[in-house]
Amino acid sequence: MHLLYQIFIDPFVQMGSAPDLFVQTLWEGLVSGVLYALIALGFVLIFKASGVFNFAQGIMVVFSALTLVGLYAHGVPAFLALAITIGVMFVLALCVERFVLRPLVNQPEIILFMATFGLTYILIGFGELVFGGDPKLMITQQLYLPTGSYSIKTLGGFVQMQKIDIAAAIIASLMVASLAVFFQKTRIGRALRAVADSHRAALSVGISLNYIWVTVWFAAGVVALATGIMWGARSNVSFALEIIALKALPVLILGGFTSIPGAIIGGVIIGVGEKIGEFYWGPLFGSGIEEWFAYVIALVFLLFRPQGLFGERIIERI
């Protein structure tokens, strides 16, 4: 009886009695949700355009951030380091296209999916080899990103909002909007969608797969870098981030693998759900339910709506 009360009544009572805490938790959830969404965005980009489910997307976030701070630590000025990192992501896109995608063209998706596991391990090994595995600080100030926070007096208490988080939300929205427009309206965007549908058909109408793939993996790399910078600004940059990066998967399930708005909404739902779940229901279970809560949400969703909120319904034809 007491347990039922604890599960169904008490958390809401707590929410009501300290609304500023509730809003704070909501905000935290929103922020991490936005960041999850950005990781998911990278996935969606690549999946929409090459049909490849890039498991390494999360690692690319860490890798790019690590490259940036690593370069800076070796004395490279901040913005030059940024430019070089973007260059590195471009080279990465070239390498992936040449050595992974091209040889595996026309293979079943599951093979390509497994190839991205290999890519993940290569990036982890390489990143740690070159830059070291200890956690590093993000060069937030050097990039002229805002630090510090606003403290808003509201709802009987205080709600703190980090400026970097607000910046992250704004940058994310801008990226999403421009990508959505890019896919729908431009010629290249159409070509990308064609490639995602069928490699062979796209080839036969003269779309250069190689060019497309490099473009989209580079774009995903840039998104990953932006995500890495913002995430690194909130917590340190290390490969422990990869677990967080894996959280993008439930986001994709919720939002659908091919939908950009879906990635955002899915991210927000997961982020908020996770934080609220952890804060109000977590103590019941012993802490740390954040580790799996997102997956359980995703699982429940899968059972009722497998294609996600916005994904395309898969109809099997015989």
């Binding site: 992974v100 596991f117 290569i122 982890i124 080899l129 059972l303």
Partner: protein
């Protein structure tokens, strides 16, 4: 000219469907078993047995488990580590409650516990497939990993949150715990793995193996010839988890002697998957090859470092290990998706026509 089938004809279907229909193969397997059971304990050092042979056998069993699910039934699973953990912790609790029951019996029972867990987390396979199912197995992995740390009852409220394996005896000889010798543990592991591999090969060659492969190749067609998809998939989950659970229990009780939740993390799931990919999806023999390669790689790298007297840290060796693993995966997927097992078959083909080129 040695590996020829000429003159060997089968007069019954039973003989035709035997596990080793070719005489040379029959002799080969008997030799291998003889070497493994008799020669190795007598000649190979305890150190080599304990640090290479025993773990490779254990991981081979886990790889077989994953292979049954992913290679034969086509259901990609990223939860292997967790199911191994269920077996390990299950065995620990069982032996805590029943300290006098033979540990091998308990290891097998813990397989059933793991199978039950596999069944539960396989339930979503009714409605979801492919990547989505893989993500569901990730849910299992993260949830169970969390359980291994946050449920103190599992490790008997031990302060260090890990299991310490108690001493257990069989026929008066210690088989687990610090007093058990490497050879004893090796023989036990070898026996269990040999028997379970044989059982797996029986399943594969019969009706159940065919239904699994049918589901993998074209589940719609499988349904239309009368196969019940859901039951087939659930059975695959259960059997696969059984194997992984036994492997996990053996990992802790017959090799490591203790366990932390790290042994059953997502990294273990990935490593097992790599073993299966490199060894060959859909090949029992490949599971052994894959386990040997994946487990042996860091050992080889370290040996190279020592041998060439390279002044690099062991952390660096770890990183090179990761890079090599990732590269191998991609290479195998490109060049030989059927893995080392296919290379082995090609090798045998060449042997058949030797000394002619084709």
């Amino acid at each position: 000219m040695f590996y020829r089938e000429a003159g060997q004809y089968k007069t019954t279907y039973q003989a035709d469907q035997a596990l080793f229909p070719i005489l040379q193969d029959k002799i080969g397997i008997i030799l291998i078993l003889a070497v493994a059971f008799i020669v190795v304990p007598l000649t190979v050092s305890n150190f080599a047995i304990d640090s290479i042979l025993t773990p490779v056998l254990i991981f081979s069993l886990a790889a077989i488990g994953l292979n049954l699910l992913t290679g034969y039934t086509g259901l990609l699973s990223l939860g292997t580590g967790a199911f191994m953990g269920v077996g390990a912790f299950g065995c620990y609790k069982l032996t805590t409650f029943f300290p006098n029951i033979n540990i091998v019996v308990l290891i097998v029972c813990s397989g059933f516990i793991s199978a039950a867990a596999g069944l539960v987390f396989g339930l979503p396979s009714l409605r979801i497939k492919g990547f989505y199912l893989a993500v569901a197995t990730l849910a299992a992995q993260f949830f169970l990993s969390w359980c291994f740390i946050r449920i103190p009852w599992l490790y008997n409220h031990n302060i260090s949150a890990s299991i310490e394996v108690p001493e257990r005896f069989m026929f008066g000889i210690p088989v687990t715990g610090p007093t058990a010798t490497p050879v004893t543990r090796y023989i036990l592991v070898l026996s269990i793995v040999a028997v379970m591999t044989w059982l797996a090969s029986n399943l594969i060659r019969g009706r159940i193996g065919r239904t699994w492969m049918a589901v993998r190749d074209m589940d719609i067609a499988a349904e239309l010839i009368g196969i019940k998809l859901y039951q087939t998939k659930l059975l695959a989950f259960a059997v696969s988890s059984f194997y992984c659970g036994v492997a996990g229990a053996m990992l802790v009780f017959l090799w490591l002697g203790n366990a932390e939740s790290e042994s059953f993390s997502i990294n273990q799931s990935f490593l097992t998957l790599f073993m299966v990919i490199i060894g060959g999806l859909g090949s029992l023999l490949g599971s052994f090859f894959g386990a040997a390669l994946i487990f042996g790689l860091p050992i080889v790298l370290r040996a190279i470092k020592e041998g060439l007297h390279l002044s690099i840290t062991s952390a660096t060796v770890e990183h090179i290990n990761f890079i090599t693993l990732g590269t191998l995966i991609i290479l195998f997927l490109i060049a030989e998706p059927a893995g080392l097992a296919r290379l082995w078959q090609v090798g045998k083909q060449k042997l058949r026509v030797w000394p002619f080129p084709y």
